[in-house]
């Protein structure tokens, strides 16, 4: 029996769980919730994934790394980008959120039912990832990448990057 014939979707998921986000390597593409589906057909593996933000420049790197991870299992990858409405920051796993917090990023808050309002960002319960205080303020809606804002913790006087909720 060849290696590829023993390949299961579960093994592909495990391999993808080792593919880091190119910009925030503490979290994997599986933690991030961007892998939508894995289908194994003999030696061919089809992986569907959704970009986080459409303008994310890490998109192509993610696609290449996922394809490499499938190839390392001895299979032929087909990585398909799905640009529907299926991903939101609510899909980041609990494990992923904790990894983000430990790395100094404020994990995204749950999605509100309606559109995001400025007042929610100015007063909402955004916890400092360093000292856990909620005495934080919004400094800039936009941060170093499309997915993050800049906040400042008044308690420990530390600026930090807060994941936007989308």
């Amino acid at each position: 029996m060849s290696l590829a014939s023993a390949l299961t979707a579960e093994r592909v998921w495990e391999a993808l769980a080792d593919v880091p986000d190119p910009e925030i390597p503490v979290i994997s593409v599986v933690d991030l919730g961007v892998v939508r589906d894995v289908q194994v057909d003999g030696e061919r593996v089809r992986v569907e994934f959704t970009p986080t933000f459409l303008g994310c420049p890490a998109l192509d790197v993610m696609r290449t790394q996922m394809a490499d991870a499938v190839r390392a299992l001895g299979a032929e990858p087909e990585v398909v980008v799905v640009t529907d409405d299926g991903w939101s920051t609510d899909r980041i796993s609990a494990v992923g959120r904790e990894k983000l917090r430990k790395a100094g990023y404020g994990p995204p808050t749950p999605r509100p039912t309606g559109p995001i309002q400025l007042v929610q960002l100015q007063t909402g319960a955004f916890r400092c990832p360093y000292c856990n205080s909620i005495d934080t303020r919004l400094d800039n809606l936009f941060g170093p990448t499309a997915c993050r804002s800049i906040r400042y913790c008044r308690n420990c006087r530390q600026p930090f990057e807060q994941f936007k909720t989308i």
Binding site: G55, T83, D85, G86, L121, L141, A146
Partner: protein, 220 residues
């Protein structure tokens, strides 16, 4: 590619060209915005707009049997469908740049909302995703609109909005114009329509397409 694409592809090209060209214009503030936070904000917004352009181009490319890069960078300047609003070179005029951002986001929210009801599932899904990202652009634009409206620069800002308003109407068509008038709290006036290009456009096209024209078929 023919001058006139099928209607749904034509719409995609209008959306994509608007987002690409506005993204390019917004990126011109990178490094020279009034303060650092706005360097970051304009750069980030520009990046997201260009990401949206890419997604629209990819849908159109599948219909037209071409690629997103070819649509974005290999057409002649007269083949672009963008509205004149996004072509204007407004660098060094912060009031006008903020006015454009606010007018654009107000109009864009109306058309993206209508696209969510498209009977083309890929476009409807894409519009829903884009809407959630654009919410942050709209917050930013609204914040600056309020700030300048209440500032000592209010007259200058009001003049900028007056001047750009006919261009903003050119972003949308039909009933969406009436909705835009209500959303912006302004009267309907003759619009600066798509089709003609402003005099700032050829220089921007030269710059935008320079790499592709230097290395035909180049990819990055």
């Amino acid at each position: 590619m023919s001058a006139q694409a099928p209607p749904r592809t034509e719409l995609l090209l209008q959306l994509a060209d608007d987002e690409l060209v506005l993204g390019w214009r917004d990126s011109e503030w990178t490094g020279i915005a009034p303060f650092l936070e706005e360097d970051v904000a304009f750069s980030s917004i520009a990046q997201t707009e260009i990401g949206h352009a890419r997604a629209f181009y990819e849908l159109a490319a599948a219909e037209l049997d071409t690629t997103a890069d070819e649509l974005a960078f290999d057409r002649r300047p007269e083949e672009y469908r963008c509205a004149p609003l996004v072509e204007l070179n407004l660098v060094h005029d912060w009031a006008k740049s903020v006015a454009r951002r606010w007018l654009y986001e107000t109009a864009d929210a109306i058309r993206v909302d209508s696209l969510k009801a498209s009977d083309w599932p890929e476009l409807a899904g894409l519009a829903a995703k884009i809407e959630r990202e654009e919410a942050y652009h709209a917050l930013h634009a609204g914040m600056w609109h309020d700030r300048l409206t209440r500032s000592t620069a209010r007259e200058r800002f009001a003049t900028a909005v007056d001047e750009l308003w006919p261009y903003a109407l050119g972003l949308v068509e039909g009933d969406q114009r009436r909705i835009l008038c209500e959303a912006a709290g302004r009267e309907d006036v003759p619009a600066v329509e798509r089709g003609a290009h402003v005099e700032d456009w050829p220089a921007l096209w030269e710059e935008m397409t320079m790499v592709r024209r230097t290395v035909p078929g180049g990819s990055w």
